[in-house]
Amino acid sequence: MENNVVIQVRNLKKNFGQNEVLKGIDMDINKGDVVCVIGASGSGKSTFLRCLNMLEVPTGGDILFEDANLTSDKVDLNRHRQKMGMVFQQFNLFPHLTILDNLTLAPMMLKKLPKAEAEEKALALLERVGLADRAKDYPGQLSGGQKQRVAIVRALCMEPEVMLFDEPTSALDPEMVGEVLEVMKDLAKAGMTMVVVTHEMGFAREVSNRVVFLDDGVVAEEGAPVEIFDNPQCERLQSFLSKVL
């Protein structure tokens, strides 16, 4: 099954000054996996995700993606990042560009897609998340939920191998969480490989095929959602779940 692995993480470490945030994490993310990373705040889960596309530069360890070690100095990060979509807690849409321009910027600039083709593809994807009529609007005119759906589409426009979600619903008003999770669910069903840092335990249980519990910079427990949620082994996970469920 070696050729099915999309990302291999080996002994990943990250320090912020004296503070050891990640203390050696190993993980294989396979094609079609939907991995949910859960854990208390400060457990390192966001840092872990941000290391996967090198937004945080790890202190040690390897991240293997597309036959390259992303932690190496010689690797062309920009090229590999095109294949790793990322969705942020704060959406981070480009406020000075229309929704359509937000979506077509990277494909036109980096993949040299002609404008017409990039727009056609962007509009088709917008249609899928029910926002085709907002193409000419600016991000400031959209609700949080709509912004996040656009942010997901922006990443999808680059046709990534894997999508990274950094607490995608944490900044949303409660009534908008559902619409974003719905889009993510559809994405998972379509076979997208996803790594999701989330507090949405319902989503983790229902959609993911693997849940990873990070505690104090290490993988404290991992397994299928049923095992994690219904039969947690380690004490820290039991206490974490008792607080969030």
Binding site: N53, Q82, A106, L110, G140
Partner: protein, 228 residues
């Protein structure tokens, strides 16, 4: 002799008001030339500092930028101008290009800070989002960060422009006939010590008020575009 006769004698005889007009031309030429140089230098330094701060390989570049801003900001403008004219470009005949260079290089050090704080005012998630899509830092700077930083930077550059306009009044130190020097020349010629200076002050005041108004309009426009 009435005040009006005095005014006529001072400014109209020998078309001396034209001295003021020509001086004003030089003042504006130096101001605009220096502004252009300042914006270019300021942008280069701000971007260089942005990229070099967290990159050990560019430590030298960071150091050069720091030295430049420290030296320039530590020397009074008049002294800098004298240095340029009598030391660095000692063979220069025409003071205007030297003045443009001196004011521009001076202004660049201040602009660098303005532009840098404009760049820093853009949410850092913007750079991260651009990088996560695969844009290089340079591409992200040009397409994502700068277009957003401009609305913070433009009003500050407007204020710098006003300061610069007034600062050029020391250009007369290096044989440049700007409007201040022209007024002095008229005083020396006519022994009218009062009116040329009052007119001079009024001309600066009108220009500054006009620029301030323009700036306020610009800021309002920028804020409006924020709403969308």
């Amino acid at each position: 002799m009435s005040w009006f006769d005095k005014l006529a004698e001072t400014f109209l005889e020998d078309n001396r008001y034209m001295w003021m007009v020509e001086g004003l031309g030089n003042t504006l030429l130096i101001t605009i030339g220096a502004l252009a140089i300042g914006v270019v230098i300021g942008t280069l330094i701000a971007v260089a500092k942005y990229f070099s701060e967290d990159n050990k390989k560019l430590r030298l570049l960071n150091w050069v930028c720091d030295v430049y801003t420290t030296v320039i900001r530590g020397i009074p403008m008049t002294v800098l101008l004298l240095l340029f004219f009598f030391v660095i470009f000692a063979s220069a005949r025409d003071g205007i290009p030297v003045a443009i260079a001196a004011f521009g290089i001076n202004s660049g050090a201040y602009m660098a800070e303005l532009i840098r704080s404009g760049i820093n005012a853009v949410d850092k998630g913007q750079m991260e989002a651009a990088r996560s899509l695969g844009l290089s830092r340079g591409q992200a700077m040009v397409k994502i960060i700068m277009p957003q930083a401009v609305k913070y930077i433009l009003p500050a550059i407007g204020n710098e422009l006003i300061a610069l306009l007034k600062e050029t009044s020391v250009a007369g130190y290096v044989a440049v006939v700007d409007i201040t020097k022209a007024a002095t020349n008229i005083r020396n010629k006519t022994y009218d010590a009062v009116n040329p200076i009052i007119l001079l002050a009024l001309v600066y005041l009108v220009m500054v008020v006009a620029l301030t108004r323009l700036l306020a309009i610009l800021e309002r426009r920028l804020r409006k575009s924020d709403g969308k």
